[in-house]
């Protein structure tokens, strides 16, 4: 299979398919490491994880150990977690607060800005040794409204340009509280024995909610019924899917569950109503009716290419997944909340998270199971292509697959080194539709 023929993209024929080798072949995975993970901006963490000078957090991004720190000037610094002497890990716990970082091999010491400030028995080094050249090394990093990204390629466009239309959706998250947002302590860390792209797809797939997550839907309906209320369950059908440029995509739907920010649900109890109304009024006063109602009532699953999901649903979740091979990934998820949210409101948010999300939730285990199942099904043969043509013939809805197609188009162009073409299907903003580039000539897929 040629690497530029893995995505069969022909809206004019009503077809969009991805070859299954894209989610299992080791040589594709090796190419992805170089052409996608070494080139794209990748999510590292959230500024609120290191609020005070000396606070640090450790991560592995695209198999590279990194850590980030708040220095004495309250600036964020990101470092490769490797000692410039002989390479030992300098930061050896997941989070904490430090005055300096001392390497445990020969005790070289670095300050919070990475400068080498201590070398035992420095007389052992001659004129060729320059302490100022031996500080901790940083990758490119930048942040947008608290979300911190790194990039291992100096040729990649600046973060802001890279994020393209996704900034509008990050704003809808960051604007939920005038005091900013914070990551709640405690994270979900689990694995899925499936290709990472299956989770990218799954996280913006609105079609599967009533099917795969039937037990969750029934759970919520049961609570509503016990409270003497009926709830709508078809909000996804009134949503939209959008391509946001550079492979980013979103589905935005009417929420069919409560939203801790400010959409009441019977599961929150009557006593929550008044206070949710207050939050809504505050958001309306600050952002105007349209934007405030979007924040309150719409759920959004945002994919930032390649491996970051912000799921602003019955909870507000940051989910990032690191591939560990062609058929494996490590997932980390956090809950984000308005910085000033405490007491019963915070408790309600956390409770809402647990109804659906996480390793012990009433839905996430089903997603893990189905992605592993897709990965196993891949090995059967017979089914050579995955179909993602849903909604090609109409204005894209939240339950359609435009947002997944835009991910795959970007993936294909980066992998094959071909120009990225925002497609000519319906629903894209007119300025995203290329004028001169004709669709590639169809080659018949094998099935």
């Amino acid at each position: 299979m040629d690497v530029d023929k893995l995505v069969y993209d022909h809206p004019e024929l009503g077809k969009f398919k991805v070859h299954r080798s894209a989610v299992g072949a080791p040589e594709i995975y090796e190419l992805e490491r170089r052409r996608i993970f070494d080139r794209c901006w990748l999510y590292l963490g959230h500024e609120s994880e290191v609020p005070e000078p000396g606070d640090y957090a450790r991560r592995v991004v695209a198999e590279r150990p990194l850590f980030f720190v708040r220095n004495r000037d309250r600036q964020l610094r990101v470092f490769h977690n490797a000692c410039p002497h002989r390479g030992a890990l300098v930061c050896r716990s997941d989070r904490g607060n430090a005055q300096v970082f001392k390497c445990f091999y020969h005790s070289w010491t670095f300050d919070l800005s990475g400068a080498l400030v201590g070398v035992p028995d420095i007389d052992g080094y001659g004129t060729g040794f320059h302490r100022e050249e031996m500080g901790l090394r940083s990758p490119r990093f930048d942040s947008y409204r608290g979300f911190v990204f790194v990039c291992f390629d100096h040729g990649t466009e600046p973060l802001r340009d890279y994020l393209a239309g996704a900034t509008e959706y990050l704003d809808l998250v960051a604007d939920q509280d005038a005091g900013g947002m914070r990551v709640i302590p405690g994270s979900n860390r689990y694995s899925i024995k499936a290709n990472w792209k299956l989770l990218a797809e799954n996280s913006i797939d609105g079609y599967h909610l009533p099917a795969l997550h039937r037990s969750f839907v029934e759970y919520l309906a049961g609570i509503a019924k016990a409270a003497g209320r009926s709830v709508t369950t078809d909000g996804n059908r009134r949503g939209v899917g959008r391509s946001l440029g550079n492979g980013h995509g979103v589905m935005e739907n009417d929420a069919v569950y409560g939203r801790p920010i400010a959409l009441w649900h019977p599961s929150y109890g009557e006593e929550a109503r008044a206070e949710i109304r207050t939050t809504r009024d505050r958001l309306i006063a600050r952002h105007g009716l349209d934007k405030a109602l979007r924040i309150c009532e719409k759920s959004r699953n945002l994919l930032i290419f390649p491996n970051l999901i912000i799921a602003d649903i019955m909870a507000l979740t940051i989910r990032v997944f690191q591939p560990t091979g062609p058929a494996g990934m490590e997932v980390t998820a956090w809950e984000l909340a308005p910085a000033g949210e405490v007491g019963i409101r915070l408790r309600r948010r956390l409770d809402s998270f647990l109804t659906f999300l996480g390793p012990g939730g009433f839905a996430t285990p089903d997603d893990v199971e189905v992605l592993e199942s897709c990965q196993q099904g891949c090995r059967s043969g017979g089914v050579e292509w995955m179909d993602l043509s849903r909604g090609l013939h109409r204005e894209p809805r939240g339950t359609d697959e435009l947002q997944m197609r835009s991910f795959w188009r970007r993936w294909q162009s980066l992998l094959a080194g071909t120009p990225h073409v925002e497609q000519y299907e319906r629903g894209l903003p007119p300025d995203a539709v290329p004028k001169a580039i004709p669709p590639p000539a169809p080659t018949a897929p094998a099935d």
Binding site: P185, G186, R189, S191, Y219, G222, G360, D366, E369
Partner: protein
């Protein structure tokens, strides 16, 4: 992060060896063994009957074993209603990671009664659960902190906090069973 003990409470030494405390120890052990057996038999209705109406079941995240469900993210924070909903989900056909059910074996040991206060008893135990399904096997290892209460002469569980020793759930993918 500096190494700090998980709890500032000193390790409870257990109760003095009187005839009463031996009986209580036996009772607590038998209750926890029964719970383990009911879970392994997937007799979840009977499992629920071991718990009081005000019971809670909490599992903190692997990176924050001291997590408080009121202000920290945890894996599971069930009151009695959600325990029942969890059981109903596991008994149905749409908890896909447990349909068909996995085979499990809960081992409970190192049981120490740490406090007695009127009708209420606190105990701690070590737990290991083996789970087998779909060609995979994984172990969940950790600690139970339980609260028990005597109701109409019999001990019942009124709270279980099940703390995992794992750094992540990378070997497991989920916590789809009752730990």
């Amino acid at each position: 992060m500096a190494n700090t003990p998980i709890r500032d409470r000193p390790v409870a030494a257990g109760l003095p060896a009187t005839a009463d405390s031996l009986l209580l120890q036996h009772e607590v052990e038998q209750l926890l063994y029964l719970e383990a057996r009911l879970l392994d038999d997937w007799n979840l209705d009977a499992w629920l009957r071991l718990y009081t109406p005000d019971a809670s079941y909490v599992v903190p995240t692997t990176d924050l074993p001291e997590g408080d469900p009121r202000c920290d993210l945890v894996f599971i924070d069930d009151d009695r209603d959600r325990m029942e909903a969890r059981v109903r989900r596991l008994q149905g056909r749409h908890a896909h990671r447990e349909y068909p059910w996995s085979r499990t074996r809960h081992f409970v040991s190192n049981i120490v009664v740490t406090a007695v206060d009127g009708d209420e008893v606190e105990a701690t135990a070590a737990v290991a659960v083996w789970r087998f399904r779909a060609g995979e096997s994984a172990g969940y290892v950790g600690r139970y902190d339980v609260r028990l209460r005597r109701v109409e002469g019999r001990l019942r569980l009124c709270g279980k906090r099940a703390i995992l020793d794992h750094e992540t759930l990378s070997d497991h993918g989920a916590l789809s069973i009752i730990f």
